[in-house]
């Protein structure tokens, strides 16, 4: 199924009002609100006609202009062989997104990474700790306004 067909199917079967977004080039995606994200994700995984059993990628994004943070989920079904991009956006001052770790185990480390580098909090994650940078690191490096800390444990990070 293509993104349109999947959105149509979801709207018809579950009474939602999802709408795919298209860009000038590349893939299209659907945006869901954080409050229904888990429900939608569960449906996508378990529905007989969708069966997205493979979460290929989960990435955190900082939209600086809109003061928002976002998460993109790249889903794939090895059974039906179709793909879907799902996005969720939250305000920068309260970046809480429900975790999908219990649905796809692979999300565990990806969500920790998004927390570490972009600063999104995943509600319901079993151990949301920094993963790449040390636990006492300051700031979230992939935010566009990130300022590198001058030194870490008395070792300068500059040249």
């Amino acid at each position: 199924m293509t993104t349109e067909e999947i959105t149509e199917y979801l709207n018809r079967e579950y009474g939602g009002n999802l709408d795919p977004t298209y860009a000038e080039a590349g893939d299209s995606w659907i945006t869901v609100s954080p409050s229904v994200l888990r429900e939608v994700a569960k449906t996508l995984r378990d529905d007989k006609n969708l069966q997205f059993n493979n979460l290929m990628c989960l990435s955190g994004i900082h939209y600086q202009k809109e003061n928002e943070l976002g998460v993109a989920y790249h889903l794939h079904s090895t059974i039906h062989d179709h793909k879907l991009v799902m996005k969720v956006r939250v305000p920068e001052d309260n970046p809480v997104v429900p975790s999908v770790e219990s649905l796809w185990k692979t999300a565990n480390w990806h969500e920790r990474e998004a927390y570490d580098l972009v600063g999104i909090t995943f509600r319901g994650h079993p151990g949301l700790l920094r993963i790449l940078t040390p636990q006492d690191w300051e700031g979230h490096p992939l935010r566009k306004d990130y300022e590198q800390q001058e030194s870490y444990r008395n070792v300068s990070t500059g040249i």
Binding site: T78, W109, L142
Partner: protein, 381 residues
């Protein structure tokens, strides 16, 4: 006189112990740190601690502001299979910009990628043997690996990090004796696989240390989104070159080897190992076909844009590297790349380690880590 009471024997305390493996440890393949909780000799819990090689690839990719400048950094994500990292990236950018690539370039990329796959598997197999105490196969693997590196060096000028692919084509023309060199390698390498099999695959010590160890069931592998030999070792026939062909892989005949539990259970360390060995043979097949079909003439820089005019949009492109699915998620703006995320197979495959090493012995943990065949550059980026 007060009766003498014999002292109660103190209850034997059963305490678990936490030991630290790495970041400097000869068999963690780099700077991986594992926090291992052991009950005697049995592992009860493993907590990987990564990030010791976090080199800020994603920050670089968005700060450089130009798609072409990112290529050398993609090399360094997974330095054992640098060409695959480049290939995934340039394919993603080409898809975004809707560029058509000349035939000759496509063939060349496939040949190089398959050569690199063999080189990478040789390194993976050699160090896996080394982890288990077999030193000789490592040396034999490196002899062959050097032969491949010599070809790649002639083509690109570098031994390890090539920076040879570019958006729309190749950096420089193909040397005239490339075809003959590659043919020579292919013919000389076939019998060497048998030699390797004799040295390691059927070695009974090796089998004892790998069969039935670290069994990864197929459902768990899928739920963790494992890929590459890790997934195929569990008996799932899934190869992006076959199932979601990119470049020109749909033109070639080859098989997808899967683990069958020949020495133990499906999905054990031995299965993951044998998948790699068999994949090398399949790669040889692809190289032979590609060499036969490759057009002899053609400008490899024909489609290379002078200046990359970025478009608004986003793509997620995945390719099959020796370690599994490598995905590039590119969000592009008019001014250039806005966000580039590399979803590396090593990162995802390593996250399975806690699930499959419960109940193993400490010595087996080394075998399990070796069989995942991680590259820390890929894990930490």
């Amino acid at each position: 006189m007060a009766p003498v009471t014999s002292p109660q024997p103190a209850a034997i305390e059963n305490r678990t112990m936490t030991i630290n493996m790495g970041p400097q440890h000869p068999s963690t393949h780099g700077v991986l740190r594992l926090e291992v909780t052991v009950d005697g000799e049995v592992v009860t819990k493993v907590k990987p601690d990564i990030g010791y090689l976090h080199r800020c690839f994603e920050k670089y990719a968005e700060s450089l502001g130009d798609y072409a400048k990112v290529v050398p950094y993609t090399d360094r994500i997974d330095y054992v299979s640098a060409l695959h990292q480049e290939m995934g990236y340039v394919i993603a950018v080409e898809k975004l910009l809707e560029l058509e690539v000349p035939e000759r370039v496509e063939y060349m990329r496939v040949i190089l990628a398959e050569l690199q796959r063999i080189a990478s598997h040789l390194l993976g197999i050699g160090t896996f043997g080394l982890d288990l105490g077999a030193f000789t196969p490592f040396l034999y693997c490196f002899i062959e690996r050097e032969n491949i590196l010599r070809i790649l060096e002639k083509v690109s000028g570098a031994r390890l990090l090539y920076n040879y692919l570019c958006v729309g084509g190749l950096m420089r023309d193909i040397p005239t004796d490339f075809t003959s060199d590659t043919w020579e390698f292919v013919t000389s390498f076939r019998p060497k696989i048998k030699e390797l099999n004799d040295l390691l695959t059927t070695n009974s010590i090796f089998i004892d240390r790998t069969a039935n160890i670290g069994v990864l069931p197929a459902e768990v592998a899928l739920n963790y989104s494992a890929s590459g030999p890790m997934l195929r070792g569990s008996g799932v026939s899934w190869d992006l070159r076959k199932n979601d062909p990119y470049s020109i892989y749909d033109r070639f005949e080859f098989n997808v080897p899967v683990g069958q539990g020949e020495m133990g259970t499906v999905g054990d360390c031995w299965d993951r190992y044998i998948v790699r060995v068999r994949e090398m043979e399949e790669s040889l097949k692809i190289i032979e076909q590609a060499l036969d079909q490759m057009p002899g003439e053609g400008d490899v820089k024909e489609a290379v844009p002078r200046r990359i005019r970025s478009k608004e949009g986003e793509v997620y492109v995945r390719t099959e590297t020796p370690r599994g699915e490598l995905g590039y998620y590119i969000i592009s703006e008019k001014s250039g790349p806005y966000r580039i995320k590399a979803r590396t197979p090593s990162f995802v495959n390593l996250s399975i380690l806690p699930a499959i090493s419960k109940g193993a012995l400490v010595a087996d943990l080394v075998a399990i880590v070796g069989s995942i065949d991680i590259v820390l550059g890929g894990v930490d980026r």
